[in-house]
């Protein structure tokens, strides 16, 4: 009897604690991986931003020097300002996506295929989209060349002009982003409660009034998600800039994401510390949105549990 005891005890210990230990066994691989590659690097980067470092020789602690230099860096302000333009004009994807969704939310012959064709710029790589639009904008061989000639801007290069380059890139970026918002809103429209719409119609609501007071509130989840992904897309804009202008002309179409890359990892120099300082600024801006998103999820979780 006594010989069997330890074994019996162990089984009960495992049975007793299984529920407590199992989650950690399931979590371990993912959490460890994620911590090493995503969480820890955030702090390491913030740390590097206080150093001067070329990636090879020993780093030198410089305190806030990198940030002080940022405050005087004209190109930093240009990039920051361009990020703001991205945030504002990229937002157009949300109402345009909604408009298209309403336009396409019908049952007619072939509508499923038409919807898919509207979606699919979203699945194409931004590199490809960027290349297509760069070619479109070419002053001589480009697609819009005839149009430019027509309005008397012969040979005008949108991407080589410091006032128009950023808008040219944003316009190209809107193409897949509108498709994304369209997908979100079409799903949202599908999930609308038809009884409320009918009730609204009974009460004489129609047209814009019906849309604004009854439909739009029901689409708030789609709207929230569309805004979140668009803000993040705007702040993350890197691919398009890298493909279309590489920040040019003279840094006038730069954004923080690309400027950081340029400072830290390109022929312009390997300034890891300065690059990290730019990244930290971008991260701080993004953090506001992330915290807002998480706060909202937290609220929903609490509602679910009550």
């Amino acid at each position: 009897m006594e010989l069997n005891n330890p074994k019996a005890k162990r089984i009960t210990w495992w049975q007793k604690n299984q529920i407590k230990i199992s989650p950690w066994i399931f979590l371990a691989p993912g959490l460890i991986f994620f911590s090493i590659y995503v969480i820890a690097p955030i702090f390491v980067s913030i740390g590097i931003s206080f150093y001067q470092w070329d990636g090879l020789s020993p780093s030198i602690y410089v305190g806030l020097q990198n940030y002080i230099e940022l405050l005087d860096d004209e190109y930093f302000y240009i990039s920051l300002w361009n990020n703001l333009k991205w945030l504002i004009f990229f937002m157009l994807a949300v109402p345009i996506g909604l408009g298209l969704a309403i336009f396409l939310n019908q049952i007619v012959f072939g509508i499923r295929l038409i919807k898919s064709l509207f979606f699919f710029p979203f699945v194409i790589s931004q590199v490809v989209i960027g290349l297509i639009f760069t070619w479109f904008y070419q002053p001589n061989y480009g697609v819009i060349a005839p149009f430019l000639n027509f309005i008397g801007l012969e040979g005008f290069s949108i991407l080589a002009n410091e006032n128009t380059a950023t808008y040219g890139i944003i316009f190209a970026g809107l193409y897949p982003q509108i498709a994304y918002c369209l997908i979100l809103y079409l799903t949202g429209l599908n999930n609308i409660n038809p009884e409320q719409i009918e009730a609204g119609r009974m009460d004489g609501a129609k047209g814009f009034h019906l849309f604004w007071n009854i439909v739009l509130p029901q689409l708030r989840h789609a709207t929230f998600l569309a805004i979140v992904v668009t803000v993040i897309g705007a702040l993350r804009s890197f691919d398009m800039v890298a493909i279309m202008t590489q920040g040019g002309p003279y840094g006038y179409s730069n954004v923080l994401a690309y400027y950081m890359f340029e400072q830290a990892l390109s022929e312009y120099g390997y300034r890891m510390g300065y690059g990290s300082a730019i990244a930290t600024v971008l991260f701080t801006i993004m953090m506001f949105y992330i915290l807002f998103f998480i706060y909202r999820m937290y609220r929903n979780e609490r509602e679910d549990n009550n």
Binding site: S22, P23, F26, L27, P29, G30, F33, F34, I36, Y37, V38, P41, I42, V44, S45, I46, I48, G55, N105, Q106, V108, I111, I114, F118, P121, V123, I124, S125, Q126, V127, V128, L131, I132, F136, Y141, G142, V143, A145, Y180, I183, Y185, T187, L189, N191, I197, H221, A222, L225, A257, M260, L265, M272, G275, A279, L282, F283, M286, I290, F293, N300
Partner: protein, 283 residues
């Protein structure tokens, strides 16, 4: 239904709608038509500025031949598959487990861990760039496909966990309770009950991850330098530098790069949209 179904509208409106629908589609797809048309042209048309007219020659196959034989395009495409598919499998496997853990067990730090996964998923890549590149160097995986895959798996686990956790949480709790009553171990519950039920979620994640990773450009530039490991997005960009105004080749190359995710999308459209709109209805 909103807006009012078109067949309840006056007949005139119906016709206007049916005329406008294809017109809007054509306008929307102009960029796509542009590269499709150009991919069948020859250099003659390009230099003559014949962008929208009828192609003077049909050279699609010769362009394809050019792209595949004179450039490392085949290598790039293969590399993209070698990066994309292991990432897809890895991230889905890890997130099935993390999602299950976060959806099924109550413990103090549950929500905090969940939020860490979500927050990490949204951070700008630039804040990770230098340490990740450094780490990849140190473990000897810089400029290798494995190095790129390891990072992608880790990063995508964030998004996949968010998705899986919410999906598993919505499954009926009674199933798990009943299995526990019968004395099934937690691993058995995970393997025999939860995993089979998450099949639609796994399908959705697979298509999404495939598209995200196939289209990744940033990490491919940061972690890869040589042609031997370069995926197609970065490859296309470097070819763009060589081709300069050879738009017919550029278009053909772009189409090659776009085809796999487009096929994936059309085959798995339902799953793709279900994945993307996670939270559009709730959350």
């Amino acid at each position: 239904m909103f807006p009012t179904p078109i067949h309840q509208r006056p007949i005139v409106n119906q016709y206007i709608y049916k005329i406008f629908l294809p017109i809007s589609l054509i306008i929307w797809l102009i960029p796509i038509f542009g590269i499709l048309m150009t991919s069948i042209r020859g250099l003659g048309d390009i230099t003559a500025g014949n962008m929208w007219g009828i192609p003077s020659e049909f050279l699609l196959f010769s362009n394809l031949y050019d792209v595949f034989t004179n450039t490392p395009m085949i290598k790039y495409t293969l590399n993209s598959f070698k990066v994309t598919i292991p990432t897809m499998l890895g991230a889905v496997a890890l997130s099935c487990m993390t999602g299950f853990a976060l959806a099924n067990y109550k413990f103090k730090t549950n929500l905090i861990i969940f939020f860490i996964f979500i927050a990490g998923n949204f951070v700008p890549f630039q804040i990770l760039m230098i340490p990740v590149r450094d780490l990849t160097f140190k473990i000897g995986l810089y400029n290798t496909i494995t190095g790129l895959v390891l990072f992608h798996v880790a990063f995508q686990t964030g998004f996949c966990t968010l998705f899986m956790r919410n999906f598993i949480k919505a499954l009926p709790q009674e199933l798990i309770e009943a299995a526990r009553m019968d004395g099934a171990s937690e691993f058995r519950i995970f393997w025999k009950i939860i995993l089979p039920l998450t099949r639609p979620a796994i399908a959705a994640l697979c298509v999404l991850i495939f598209t995200f990773i196939w289209n990744d450009y940033f990490w491919a530039t940061v972690l890869i330098q040589g042609d031997h490991a370069m995926p197609i997005t970065a490859g296309l960009k470097s070819l763009n530098g060589q081709w300069i105004t050879a738009y017919h080749l550029l278009s053909t190359g772009s189409i090659v790069a776009a085809i796999p995710p487009v096929i994936m999308f059309f085959l798995m459209q339902k799953h793709f949209i279900a994945g993307l709109t996670l939270g559009a209805t709730k959350g």
